[in-house]
Symmetry: C2
Subunit: 623 residues, 2 copies
Amino acid sequence: MIKIATAQIDVIPGNIRENWKQIEQEIQAAKEQKARILLLPEMCLTGYLIGDLWDQNAFLRECESYNRKIAAASRGMTILWGSCAVDWSKTNDDGRPRKYNAAFAASDGKFLCPSGTDRPYTIKTLLPDYRCFDDRRYFTSLIQYAAEKGTSPEQEISPFLLPAGKETLCAGVLLCEDSWDENYSLSPMSILAEKQVSLFLNLSASPFTLGKNEKRHRMLGASLSKLHIPMLYVNQRGLQNNGKTCYTFDGMTAAYDEEGTLRAEAQPFHEGLSFFTFDPESRKLESLAPMPPYTGNMLLPALQYGVRKFLSSIHTDKVVIGVSGGIDSAVNAALYRSVLPPENLLLVNTPTRFNSEMTKTLARDLADRLGTPYVTVPIGSFIDETASVLEGLPAGRSTIHLTGFMKENMQARDRSSRILAALSSAFGGIFTCNANKTEMTVGYSTLYGDLAGALAATADLWKYQVYELGRLLNDYFGKEMIPEGIFTVKPSAELSENQDITKGLGDPLIYEYHDYLLKSFVEPWQRLTPEDILSFYAEGTLEEHLGCRVKVKDVFPTASDFIGDLERWWNLFAGFAVAKRIQSPPLIAVSRRPFGYDLRESQVSPYYTDRYRELKKQLCGRS
Amino acid sequence: MIKIATAQIDVIPGNIRENWKQIEQEIQAAKEQKARILLLPEMCLTGYLIGDLWDQNAFLRECESYNRKIAAASRGMTILWGSCAVDWSKTNDDGRPRKYNAAFAASDGKFLCPSGTDRPYTIKTLLPDYRCFDDRRYFTSLIQYAAEKGTSPEQEISPFLLPAGKETLCAGVLLCEDSWDENYSLSPMSILAEKQVSLFLNLSASPFTLGKNEKRHRMLGASLSKLHIPMLYVNQRGLQNNGKTCYTFDGMTAAYDEEGTLRAEAQPFHEGLSFFTFDPESRKLESLAPMPPYTGNMLLPALQYGVRKFLSSIHTDKVVIGVSGGIDSAVNAALYRSVLPPENLLLVNTPTRFNSEMTKTLARDLADRLGTPYVTVPIGSFIDETASVLEGLPAGRSTIHLTGFMKENMQARDRSSRILAALSSAFGGIFTCNANKTEMTVGYSTLYGDLAGALAATADLWKYQVYELGRLLNDYFGKEMIPEGIFTVKPSAELSENQDITKGLGDPLIYEYHDYLLKSFVEPWQRLTPEDILSFYAEGTLEEHLGCRVKVKDVFPTASDFIGDLERWWNLFAGFAVAKRIQSPPLIAVSRRPFGYDLRESQVSPYYTDRYRELKKQLCGRS
């Protein structure tokens, strides 16, 4: 019976020294608890999403030096950890030093080599190069390593024989993607299964998104039950980013039995060690304390964790939030309030004559319920003054004239760039961007206006998910922190008379339909384009493909109406909205395809295929 | 003797139909000139930098359909072109349809297969996955193709036998990186050289950066002279982007003889066909018209082309430029003026009491010389009014107080987000961001202020290059469009009394030193960190490593001074400046490492290695 500990440590990206301090503590704690083996996640010293820091040789040397510190700390036990291995005698294809995403093992102060090799680490075999992942930009895979050496992956993939007191564990060590082998021509798990492995150990740095853990359970369920080998899985905890896109890491250590059934799971974002026993004879893997698999909704915990970590990473805990009385800003205010004391928030309402009494009252009511400071700064007179200064200025052959539409954008910019930015610096913190994904997709927002802010916490949530999050927040608080009126008021930017909610006017988006239409442009693995949409429309299967509840015919009486709407939003999505997203704030990822580094975009013109144009002609009966 | 045409077409990214129209015209023109073979660049239908458009299956089908159109148009001649090949029966490692970056050949309406294969295209072998390149994200390489098939790259890399009237050309067809084989373990050119190839044809989509063509001439000079095979090279023309980073493509078709000497070269950004003759017997490759290799400075032509193309891609030709009387805004104004008529520009000066008479006069003088409309919009009273509204507002336990530093940022935001944004929409165009790379590197700029704008044309130029570009522009105009006073005035943001140029005050950057220090953080292939910098400083070789002319000792009398300055800028570069760059506008790339998609960055904390801390201790004599 071998006692194994896993440490789902909070990895601070790029900060080797601080990560080592945590690791050192966990090693000490694991020793005190008499664990024979300690598992740490993939890239536990450096973090995983650190951009091109891998170009800095000093950073690589530092990483090597701390790998040696971990090995030295393994006196009296065995430690297994993910880190970068550098082979200075070779180069990657880019001419920079050769780097492997590697798993190291050390016991009693000495590095171990995988069975039959003289290389003190195992090399990640499957390097993901899709979504937010760029492994091949930085690391050479075991496949290429074997090819260069003139051997095969089957020869090079080899178990570690890990000392565990008087016993020895023949462990198949995998790095994250190595177990997600569905689409690869090679399965590291199958290769290891043929080499007397009694337990798989997967060290991961797997960013959280909704539904991903469930997918992992299904996938591992299928493959482990075939191989009849149990698995212990440990993931990083923390928040890491690729610039635009911030990912939470849930640290949900998991134990699967040899039938592939999930038997134990750490709570999301949970600190500290988990302990297991493993019997190599019976292959029985059990947690020492009860660890029931998590069944809750991860949306709110992930966003709370993300917001808290983001703020601490930029060393602030003060937040200014512009609140309009609408759902997006209210949900953001309640979200921040759920992780900060009320006095650390400042809610700001910046009305003009276009803002209704109803929403102004709702905004104030929200602040009262949240118990936060609240100020009102009317901006109408400033807009008028700016307009009067600019109107009529000579501009070559023409003179400056500001239309109503231009004044709408002026209001949005005035709110963020003039009022919120100044207030947040004086308040000693940041101001938030309250955008949602529906707006982001079509650029229904103003640059340097409502699209400004240090963090867009809810920008990966479709409008229906913003409402869902609002309900989750009220449940979390156990009372109606977000007043019911905010859930029911008509969504509107209230920037002009055309958006007067008292007359039932508001946003141009029909969220019950457009949420799902726009999602289909962005999130499916094979993303939909107007050609696909129009084909489904023509065959009457669009609702089914989009997963929306409204009937398209009810929204758009004719094919022309439908097509006009489709092209309006496609032109924005593929056009000006890209320009806006280039300058948008970072967001917290929760979906399978967040904007930013996951969906890589170029500013190009919207395109319609020939097949689309034929279909359109057929449907409209004209060219 | 075979007549060959090359078409360095202006590829519009993502617009297959428009690119086909150009290709069709070039085919017609090549036929009229009786060329036997026509070469088109890599990815000539789709463009190369198109982000994740490759996820759209409708786009892939459209691409296949237009590949067939090109093949059908090859009646009476042979056409060779780069495009995407899809094998719907297989998947990439990401589970999406299998895609190859491929070269197709067709003659008399029929696709050709490389000699000895039954595959109607050749597959790119070397897939770059560094800098701005993501080939492995989208495409499967010939190396993987061969491995899956159980053959070898040596077997699969095969020449095309291209019909050319009564003759046949045994051509080694390469796609861009296939010829940049320095750091790869495999050389497609060497493999082809063993297969009776008499001419290399390289189809490229190679983004322009300063010095890159010279590097190509050196590199191909070395490899071709060894193989004794000449090469004809054709590159895309146009402007493509990866969101943040816009690259020009120079379309500089080039002919190298069998000694590897550059014999003929198209002018940069030059439209139209180039014609060559090739004798397979003597291997003599000659241009029909004289095409002397280009020897000019590419900086100005590249930026002019980039600005022109960017504006046309977003369908505007009106530009508002905030001008301060300093060098950055003046150079931007002159740059835009060099591609637009004067009435399409609106120059705007937005002074406060901190702006000197000298710079205000210089700004007006600049507009006079450029002949553009010019308006002055003082902003001081607005700043004061905003301050008086916000000052003293209750904010929980504290009250709002605006410091001088906060008011500096308010000025910057007021200029861009209030004045320039509104004016540009009324003027019917965009406003520019006039940032340079030195500022960008350390975030010496204000978000939603001077860092705002639709395009940052000079943001990849170090401050010394901005001055250089100013001189080039005055040469281009043949007169002093940018007044001499702008070159000599002290650089200053003029946002407070501490930046009063009449008292010799200004920017905190010592450009003669910091330009080079900051460049070393960003541009070397092995990027420098404080550890490297401090080692060089300690051994007295820093100036040499940085390439700067000032003596470090003259700038910083003591090691403490030096280290204080180093850490100040490193903390900004690796810290808050990253947050600013996440929300900065797109730029035009000219350097070997532009910000944005080329240098991928995460928001992490600035880090100092242990070795740095030891060195610091030694130099300062304390911990």
